[in-house]
């Protein structure tokens, strides 16, 4: 009797153990990206940009060319790469502090120029790497080390909905929000990342997928509770949907 492998490690994913906490969304998304690089034959032409955040060493996990970028500056770095190497497949990976706080100017302007790269945006409603401070996406009332009595919108403002902001711009080709709340949510996320990658391959300009993602450590929940919290609470504030899809055009 012969054995049939139903699932193997994607070739574009290094065979090393990751440093992420148990139940963290980063590892899940890294794997989805690697699977798509294999399936879409992108590994050989990918130049990836890793952020500053928990995923700072993403380059140790993907088997592709990859550079670091200063905190928040990945979209500008990717702009430089893609303009000089238009044939490269340029992947940008960012957390919410990186993309929606310190780097929001670079984020908006690269999207507004329609730079032909793809951003994978991990929204875990927290600053993970620095130890659980308030993020631009932290929910009203959410307790963090810098909002110890819960985010008070009267003085700290409201969580920023990035997809809705991208959607005000003319140039982006694909904008979607998805969530890692269940195996189904993970599969759906992969479908949407694929579409975003297709938009870039077809030269349609800036594409982005925002992924509501668990950070069990600083959501102060176990991994299953964190996924349930994403479905019940996080996606209530951040609606999961496709905002724009020009891949069909």
């Amino acid at each position: 009797m012969s054995e049939i492998a139903l699932y193997t490690r994607p070739q574009s994913l290094e065979d090393v153990s990751m440093h992420y906490c148990p139940g963290c969304g980063h590892g899940i998304v890294h794997k989805l990206i690697a699977e798509l690089m294999d399936e879409m034959d992108l590994r050989d032409k990918t130049v990836a940009v890793a952020p500053v955040g928990c995923s700072v060493i993403a380059y140790e996990y993907w088997d592709v060319d990859c550079t670091e970028a200063a905190h928040g500056r990945a979209p500008a770095v990717a702009t430089g790469i893609k303009r000089f190497r238009p044939d490269a497949f340029v992947l940008v990976y960012q957390g919410d502090g990186d993309l929606a706080s310190i780097g929001i100017a670079e984020t908006i302007y690269a999207a507004n120029r329609g730079e032909n790269f793809t951003t994978i945006f991990i929204n875990n409603t927290i600053y993970g790497m620095t130890g659980g401070q308030m993020a631009p996406t932290t929910l009203p009332g959410q307790v963090t080390t810098t909002s110890p009595t819960g985010r008070d919108v009267a003085t700290m403002g409201y969580p920023i909905r990035m997809c809705e902001i991208y959607d005000t711009l003319e140039a982006p080709s694909f904008i979607a929000r998805t969530m890692l709340d269940s195996p189904g949510g993970i599969r759906k996320t992969k479908t949407l990342i694929r579409k975003a990658f297709e938009a870039q391959v077809a030269g349609q300009g800036f594409s982005v997928v925002e992924i509501l993602s668990p950070c069990p450590t600083y959501m102060r929940m176990d991994p299953i509770q964190a996924m349930k919290h994403i479905k019940d609470k996080v996606s209530e504030y951040f609606p999961v949907k496709i905002f724009r899809d020009r891949t069909a055009e």
């Binding site: 590994r43 050989d44 032409k45 990918t46 130049v47 940009v49 700072v56 060493i57 380059y59 140790e60 993907w62 088997d63 592709v64 060319d65 990859c66 550079t67 670091e68 970028a69 200063a70 500056r73 500008a76 770095v77 990717a78 702009t79 430089g80 790469i81 893609k82 303009r83 000089f84 190497r85 044939d87 490269a88 497949f89 100017a105 670079e106 908006i108 302007y109 120029r113």
Partner: protein
């Protein structure tokens, strides 16, 4: 035959960079360097190269970083307040061992200051500027010809050492016109076996400055490069130094005025000469020290409150008195001002 043209310093610098093989230019408007950005906007597309007006200086330097990662010869230009914003990106370029050209057409500070020419960013330029242990090679042109030539050569230096290079100039040199001979050497960028191109048929490459636990190794590599630069890239020019007993030290615009002042006082029999650093990092310490035995006084002239004079004092190590004359806040000295300073020195020493 090499062509003679009349251009502003800013435009000559842009044309020099294009001839030096600049693939990508990224910049944000600020006076007194706008002619350079506009020149690149007009001419980079002609050569099928990239020009982007970025949303900020921070974005510009990070675009430079990205293009350099991908193997391009890339540059940005700005003036003092904008160069302050680029410091984080310059630290990352240095930390990741990436070549790039940064131009600072200095204006008066601190703060918004004024658009008048200044040399007050000397410390920022020569001490690293951003965080961490690094240095930027700093070229200091004094003529429109040098604005052009240094820009063309800067990419070779940056590529040779995989280290950022700065051209440090000021609003007067940027905006004045002079005739120059256009650079006519073919740009010959070296192979970049470290650049990110997509890992087809090879193992992946990573560009990083983050090395948890191994940062000392990365720093040691950077320091070894900096020692090589110190050995090979010091540039300076001397004028009337053979029999001089007063040595003026000045760079850029201030050096032009000092040269005029040397001519004036020589007519009166005062034996003054000029040493003009063309790189202020690496600094010509040894050349300056070598003149100490023949000198009565060193006079450093700068358009700031006294910055390079600290390097001159380090070079002289107390063997000769070092005096300073400077104008601050965007004022430019006249030749007559410098002549007066030299005269004061001579009467002072004779009385």
């Amino acid at each position: 035959m090499a062509k003679r043209v009349l251009m502003t310093g800013n435009e000559a610098l842009g044309e020099g960079a294009i001839r030096g093989g600049c693939d990508c230019y990224f910049g944000y408007p600020i006076t007194p360097q706008n002619e350079l950005t506009a020149y690149m906007a007009r001419h980079m597309p002609d050569h099928d190269r990239t020009f982007i007006q970025s949303e900020s200086e921070i974005a510009a330097i990070n675009m430079v970083f990205g293009a350099s990662v991908a193997g391009a010869r890339s540059m940005t230009s700005s003036s003092s307040p904008g160069v302050s914003l680029k410091q984080e990106g310059m630290s990352y370029l240095a930390g990741c061992c990436l070549p790039a050209l940064i131009v600072n057409v200095m204006r008066a500070g601190p703060g918004l200051g004024d658009i008048t020419p200044s040399q007050a960013d000397y410390f920022q330029a020569t001490r690293g500027g951003g965080h961490g242990d690094y240095r930027t090679v700093v070229l200091t042109p004094a003529t429109v010809q040098e604005m052009h030539d240094f820009a063309a050569e800067a990419f070779d230096i940056a590529d040779r050492y995989r280290n950022p290079v700065m051209i440090l100039t000021d609003g007067r040199l940027g905006q004045m016109m002079e005739p120059l001979t256009l650079w006519d050497k073919e740009a010959a960028p070296p192979a970049k076996p470290w650049a990110l191109t997509g890992a087809a048929k090879r193992i992946k490459r990573t560009i990083r400055s983050y090395y948890a636990g191994r940062v000392p190794e990365n720093n040691a590599r950077i320091q070894a490069t900096l020692r090589k630069i110190e050995q090979n890239e010091v540039r300076f020019e001397t004028y009337m130094m053979d029999d001089a007993d007063i040595m003026l030290v000045a760079f850029g615009t201030a050096a032009r005025l000092c040269r005029g002042a040397v001519d004036c006082v020589r007519a009166d029999g005062i034996r003054a000469g000029l040493l003009r650093p063309q790189t202020v990092w690496p600094f010509p310490h040894e050349a300056i020290a070598g003149y100490c035995d023949q000198l009565k006084t060193v006079l450093t002239v700068e358009m700031n409150a006294g910055q390079m004079v600290e390097d001159v004092r380090l070079a002289v190590e107390g063997r000769t008195p070092v005096r300073f004359y400077g104008t601050i806040g965007g004022d430019v000295p006249s030749v007559a001002d410098v002549v007066e300073q030299i005269r004061l020195l001579t009467t002072g020493s004779e009385s």
